[in-house]
């Protein structure tokens, strides 16, 4: 069984947020419910101010703390290494959101930051959180895997586009978006990433491109002290950097 993982090269990443919008459409996310977000950081001042950014999907950790805290096992890890939410079991307690060190889980039952509220513009008559015309076709949606438009009052998160990835032929080491044979099985953010800053493949396969990149370019994981062992690795290159802080201390005018 594969153990899917992602590699993101920060030297190639341009901070354009194409991953964010591709994910939003592929997965019918609400505005602001950014499963695949890009975070910006800055430090220093003119003329030597530094600006950096970090694309941040779910890390699909090897030891996911969200799975451990979920009192109903709504959140679980698949055999091929992906962390999913079973929307039929989720009670909306949000403990997983507390326990995720990477802040990649969402409870969209919140005041919509973009007003007017899109959920009222495209309401669902099936108990879903919304029902826009561009919603993922019903046959691809899967409530037990947290894929598609979520019902009301549950937590949602990046699925590594499990509806695509899980269709890949067994034993595929790399899901390369530039290869027509594997493109349809590759997560949306990887497919669309214009600077080709993302790779997706089997972390358990020593011959996979992701494994090679992690070795050659010394891939690192975020916040490794948490022990969650993310399956998303970052390549920092020479002109990019993992942001050194998650919190904010800065001078304000």
């Amino acid at each position: 069984m594969a153990r899917w993982g992602m590699v993101i090269d920060l030297e190639r990443c341009t901070g354009c947020q194409a991953c964010t919008t591709a994910c939003q459409l592929e997965n019918t996310r609400l505005p602001g419910e950014h499963w695949q977000d890009v975070l910006f950081y800055n430090e220093g001042e003119y003329p030597s101010g530094k600006l950096s950014w970090l694309p941040r999907p779910c890390m699909h950790c090897e030891n996911p703390s969200c799975v451990a805290v979920c009192p109903t096992r709504a959140t679980y890890k698949t055999e091929d290494g992906v962390v999913l939410v079973n929307w039929d079991r989720c009670i909306g307690c949000r403990y997983c959101m507390i326990a995720c060190p990477y802040g990649v889980r969402f409870y969209a039952e919140e005041k919509q930051k973009t007003q007017p509220d899109v959920r009222k513009v495209w309401p669902s008559d099936e108990g879903k959180i919304w029902n826009p015309p561009w919603a993922m076709p019903k046959h691809r949606q899967d409530m037990k895997r947290g894929i598609g438009v979520q019902p009301k009052n549950v937590v949602s998160k990046c699925t590594f586009c499990y509806h695509r990835v899980s269709q890949a032929p067994k034993g595929t080491p790399d899901l390369d978006p530039n290869d027509p044979k594997t493109r349809d099985f590759t997560p949306a953010c990887v497919v669309t990433c214009a600077p080709n800053a993302r790779w997706f493949g089997d972390l358990d396969n020593p011959n996979s491109k992701v494994r090679k990149l992690i070795a050659e370019k010394r891939g690192v994981r975020l916040n490794d002290q948490t022990g969650n062992r993310p399956q998303v690795y970052y390549l920092a290159g020479e002109a990019a950097a993992i942001p050194e802080t998650r919190s904010v201390r800065r001078k304000e005018g």
């Binding site: 975070l39 910006f40 509220d117």
Partner: protein
């Protein structure tokens, strides 16, 4: 007022023939009205807006209702501990309030869970999904299990006492079990926060102890508050007077002192630490709730420090209410600052700002109203002033 000595066998469950005292009537009326109005508002908001009527977000996942829930649940465990001082450890001075404490423990638990249910996405799904989930790695799962057991044991214990069975082995075992659970349950609730290494401001092995202690302190304040409402002078027994004028105020003073000492240690550690995320403690220092907490503790300490002050029902009332407000603020503050330091939210997010919305605030009168109503009703119908029959003789 007379301490009933119920040796006369099994009585009806509810004393429907007795008349509510003016205090009972006032509490029920006040609680009923406040509770019903606020429930109507909350229900309407949740029905139309859902949780968008809360100020919670994907950045601050847990809102004020969780703090209210903490407040009531930890108080419940504290009250259960006070009840156990008599029923388990035989500290006889507490016997006149043991049954009342069990009832209070039950209704604070019910109130707390009601508030939690209004905060959860699918409260009813919890009823089957948690038992079938069996996620033994989740402190919340254990919390659910232990509080469920706690609830059942409290009901059984209360039923036993209500039946006048204070002495049997069965009751004793029940009391011991209930005591063990009411230590474990708030302890587990402490672990729900204390185990979260990714939230350094909460991460602490001492969190269970802190929860048990603050719950106990809240319980003493509850009892002091209720005692201050009770009539004084010739119509009360000497036992009751001893309890209300000396024992409870002293226990309250000691509990508050212990809370202050612990909180002091906590905040100092937090301020000293450079560790990522611990700046939540600096955030706390800038938060108005911290000063409500601080001032509340200090005022309560001062009012309970002098023997004749702490014997005064008026000052008892003031001190206990102030302490409860302070503790309530402490719960809210813990919840808020623990989440305001964002997890990888980026530069623009800065600190997250959270303050409860109108709907979230309306859960406070809802909880208070529910509590007052249930207490008034219990005091009227459930003979809460009953105690162990041969107590006086045995003393």
């Amino acid at each position: 007022m007379n301490i009933s000595t119920t040796t006369t066998g099994r009585l009806a469950l509810l004393d429907l023939e007795s008349k509510p005292t003016p205090l009972n009537a006032t509490l029920m009326l006040l609680g009923g009205i406040v509770g019903a109005i606020s429930f109507a508002i909350v229900f309407w908001m949740l029905a139309t807006e859902g949780h968008a009527s809360f100020n919670t977000s994907s950045d601050v996942a847990w809102g004020a209702p969780i703090a209210y829930y903490l407040f009531f649940l930890l108080a419940s465990s504290g009250l259960s501990i006070i009840a156990s001082l008599d029923t388990v450890f035989g500290v006889k001075v507490f016997y006149p309030i043991a049954k009342r404490c069990v009832w209070l423990s039950i209704i604070t638990l019910v109130t707390g869970f009601t508030l939690l249910a209004l905060e959860l996405g699918h409260p009813f799904r919890m009823l089957w999904a948690m038992p079938t989930g069996l996620q033994i790695k989740s402190p919340m799962w254990w919390m659910g299990v232990l509080y469920s057991i706690d609830f059942v044991l409290l009901l059984m214990k209360f039923y036993r006492l209500h039946q006048g069975d204070w002495e049997s082995r069965h009751t004793h075992h029940l009391s011991v079990a209930s005591f063990v659970i009411c230590i474990l349950a708030p302890g587990t609730l402490g672990l729900v926060f204390g185990m979260m290494a990714m939230r350094p401001a909460w991460y602490s092995p001492v969190m269970p102890m802190y929860f048990i202690l603050t719950g106990f302190a809240t319980a003493t304040a509850f009892m002091l508050f209720i005692g201050s409402l009770a009539p004084r002078g010739t119509d009360t027994s000497p036992e009751m007077r001893l309890l209300n004028d000396e024992v409870l105020p002293r226990l309250f003073f000691l509990a508050v002192l212990a809370v202050v000492a612990m909180r002091f240690g906590q905040i100092l550690t937090g301020l000293w630490s450079n560790y990522e995320g611990m700046e939540a403690n600096w955030r706390a220092l800038r938060h108005p709730l911290f000063y409500v907490e601080l001032l509340g503790y200090m005022t309560a300490l001062v009012l309970a420090a002098k023997t004749d002050w702490r014997a005064s029902p008026g000052l008892q009332f003031v001190a206990s209410v102030i302490f409860m407000i302070a503790m309530f603020s402490a719960r809210l503050e813990l919840l808020i600052v623990g989440q305001e330091v964002p997890l990888f939210k980026g530069y623009w997010a800065g600190y997250t700002n959270y303050w409860p919305s109108f709907t979230e605030w309306m859960l406070v009168p809802l909880g208070m109203g529910m509590f007052l109503f249930l207490y008034g009703a219990g005091d009227w119908l459930l003979r809460l002033n009953e105690a162990r029959a041969p107590a006086l003789q045995r003393r």
